[in-house]
């Protein structure tokens, strides 16, 4: 038994150069991993040495127009000792690529598929990297910041199609496009 702080210290001593940032916010610990480092070794260590047996969530962030653009976020949970750890790793590759952790935490299989579907981030070594929410033919990754909120017009086979649905002019009388915080809600020019 050891506290979360002790676990983090163990991790830091095992991988001294790979942890570039360590922040605490409202009792939650976030570790930023050096991009390009061996993510798999860290994950293996976290699961088997430090007891983070459960992958709560795996998601991504698109920091458009900043570098590095792509950030992956892992939420890990130690079931026996009730503590959570957040990992972040970034890349600026095109297309963005990370190694899969699906052989370490099988729960990441579908989560990685979702990240691939929504952000277009590739996971090397994934056993079945297909789209999970949108259909296979769908040509875009809709959670990317450069994808318009309204969607795009597209015609596929088997009757599949999409049409843009701008917020302005919808059944509800709202004017979201005038707020500067969400530029993607503006009508497409």
């Amino acid at each position: 038994m050891s506290t979360l702080a002790e676990k983090v210290n163990l991790l830091k001593s095992a991988f001294p150069k790979l942890i570039v940032e360590h922040t605490e916010f409202r009792g939650q610990t976030t570790l930023v991993i050096n991009s390009g480092s061996d993510l798999l070794k860290i994950c293996h260590f976290l699961k088997h040495q430090l007891g983070f047996e459960m992958l709560l969530d795996l998601t991504a962030v698109d920091n458009l127009e900043t570098s590095p653009r792509w950030m992956l976020v892992y939420h890990l949970w130690n079931i026996k000792e009730n503590c959570m750890l957040r990992l972040r790793i970034s890349t600026n590759e095109d297309p963005p690529t990370f190694p899969t952790v699906s052989h370490i935490w099988p729960a990441s299989n579908w989560l990685e598929r979702e990240v691939y579907d929504m952000f277009g981030i590739r996971f090397q070594g994934h056993p079945d990297l297909r789209r999970i929410l949108m259909w296979d033919e769908y040509p875009w990754h809709p959670m990317r910041k450069d994808f318009p909120l309204a969607g795009r017009s597209w015609q596929g086979s088997n009757g599949l199609f999409t049409e843009p649905a701008p917020l302005e002019g919808g059944p509800f009388h709202i004017l979201p496009g005038h707020h500067p915080s969400e530029p993607r809600a503006h009508p497409q020019q």
Binding site: P148, A150, G151, L160, F161, T162, E163, P171
Partner: protein, 220 residues
Amino acid sequence: MDIQINAFPCQSAKIRLELTQLNIIQDLACQLIYLGSKMRLLFRTEYSLCVNKMQRSCKAGTGIYDGTVLLTRLEALINWFRKYSIWPLPAGTSCCAIELMASGGARFDLARFGSEIMRFSPRQADVMIVAGTVTYKMAPIIKTLYEQMTEPKWVIAMGACACTGGMFRSYSVLQGVDRIIPVDLYIAGCPPRPEAILQALIQLQQKIQTQPLFRRQIES
């Protein structure tokens, strides 16, 4: 076609034709039905013939003869059959389906309107109740379900999402199921109360009762 129909306008048919001539009219009617044209006028002609005959017999003008026979149009009779046996296809795509299930239960009881038999095969259903959000991924499946239903068929769009896309004004949601299939009735609500579903069924019954036969075939 038009010339033949004009040869039997209601007014003159009432006066001129006798019961013995009905066979001829029926044959002609069958031919016209086969050709898919102007059903309504023909059935009206037949109707006025019968009423005229009975009026001369009993002079009541009510259409009731001898206390045992009720005269009506074939159209009205078939529609009467249809409207009390609307079997729904619960195309439940999200939370509206829960409310649809509630209206099938004992408290609200769709059975009072002859619609208690939910058919999960579109081939056995009469009305498709699209209950919930229809995504673009689901849209071809909904359309296939509709196409698999046999005529006569009707569609109820239940709830805000099925009617307009609702609050999901986004890249992934079809903005109203009427973009892919013809909708007869729209139910507002998010989700609608079971009472609203019952009202929609009653309105659908009214619509079916006044619906000319073979209308859909003619339109398509």
